[in-house]
Symmetry: C2
Subunit: 247 residues, 2 copies
Amino acid sequence: MAGKPLKRATARISKLAPVLEAPAREPSAAMLIAKRIEEDIVLGRRQPRERLIEQDLCDLFQTHRGDVRLALFELEKKGLVERIPNRGAMVRGLTPLEVREIYAVREELEVMAVRIIAFPVAPSEINRLEQLQRQHSAAVAKGDLLTVFYSNLRFHQILFGLCGNACLIETIDFLAQKVHGIRSYAHAFPQSLDRARRDHLDMIKALRGSRRDALIALTRRHLEPSPQAYIKAYERRFGTAVLASTD
Amino acid sequence: MAGKPLKRATARISKLAPVLEAPAREPSAAMLIAKRIEEDIVLGRRQPRERLIEQDLCDLFQTHRGDVRLALFELEKKGLVERIPNRGAMVRGLTPLEVREIYAVREELEVMAVRIIAFPVAPSEINRLEQLQRQHSAAVAKGDLLTVFYSNLRFHQILFGLCGNACLIETIDFLAQKVHGIRSYAHAFPQSLDRARRDHLDMIKALRGSRRDALIALTRRHLEPSPQAYIKAYERRFGTAVLASTD
DNA sequence: GCGTTGAATATTGTTTACAATATAGTTTTC
DNA sequence: GAAAACTATATTGTAAACAATATTCAACGC
């Protein structure tokens, strides 16, 4: 047992990873839990300021606290959850100011994405978008909010994915996640969902015609309603003064 | 012991967090470890593809694997480390393509930041920048690369912090972190450090004169050398063909 | 009665031990 | 002698127990 510790040290030097490809790993348990909690927040099943207690989540997801803990750290960085040391985690509510700031950055990046898309776009890609759009419309008609949420998400991922810049795609996605929670406000009105649907159709049309300026304008317009609806709802609830009030 | 479990359930409903302010918490142990490892990567003390073994890091930082684990997850999300399930973590090397993509997004966001800075900027802010710049120059002269790194980082944080959009500031910072690792290449040449120094001085001048267009041009120019140096070094090392070769 | 103190409980944070998986080296078989 | 199977070891992943911290509620003194 005396000479053994050396082995690890040598191993670190010699083993420089034998050219391993990412083996298309499935998401870890912690990520799945994070995803589920995120869904709950998005669909309004969990209210802002509601506490997220580790043991409760363990019981719910049938797992140990390690995974739940990791999921909460994950959600904290995404901005959906607030964690206070030794006190725990709670669903985070965004202030109107934060929402406006996030949407300003989203607009900049999404416009950048459509600005660098290489035209013309392959018909197969446009067909994928149309298919997702049909799925989205059907879900809207049925009132299936979960499917609405995911098909909408996928639509935008495919659309902005066309730009080809992986970092840009990732960052757009990251910012979209931050405001997932406020969509439940925007979607409270059927007219909002309908407007989004029409925007999508127009986008597909612009894409097919390689009309870049139209696509940029649509991208900007498409981002407008959500923050406006949220801010209105917020002011109705907490008074007209939009300050840093936490309660 | 029969009726006790209920208490937790009721607690979750009743306790809606009694208006707690963020108590300016100090960074957790995991974050400190992540920071230290990041420094090692930035300064070239750890090579790309080098393995990061949890137990080694525990010995090094005198802690348990929980913290180290969390730090590695953290670094994975930042993009500095690659993790493969059941196999471990290693320092991640960026391909030239990734570097170009990241810098394209950085340019977009940093230009956005200086575009929305409210002029004129308070003299106190400009003084802070000048002070940091003096610190930076002194560190360059002394060859103190760690101080060079941090004073440069702070300079940009203050500069872009002037834009006032918290989300934008955070995202700029996030992307800068992703390419911290390649700065060791750029800084290999003294002329690079000197050019950066001059850029900073010009930026301060433009800021003082409220010359926005000049500041935007400087911001773009300032981002050029690093990826170029990295890509050149990469090609010299792995051959001129810039493909997905991993070794 | 009201604020304060103190014990009981709830919740998070840390540590350790254990199990599962991957890697390296050795032996065996053709 | 080379390929395949097996064993030993290294490393990560999981779980449970323990410790530290915060919250709740009741008793006490003023």
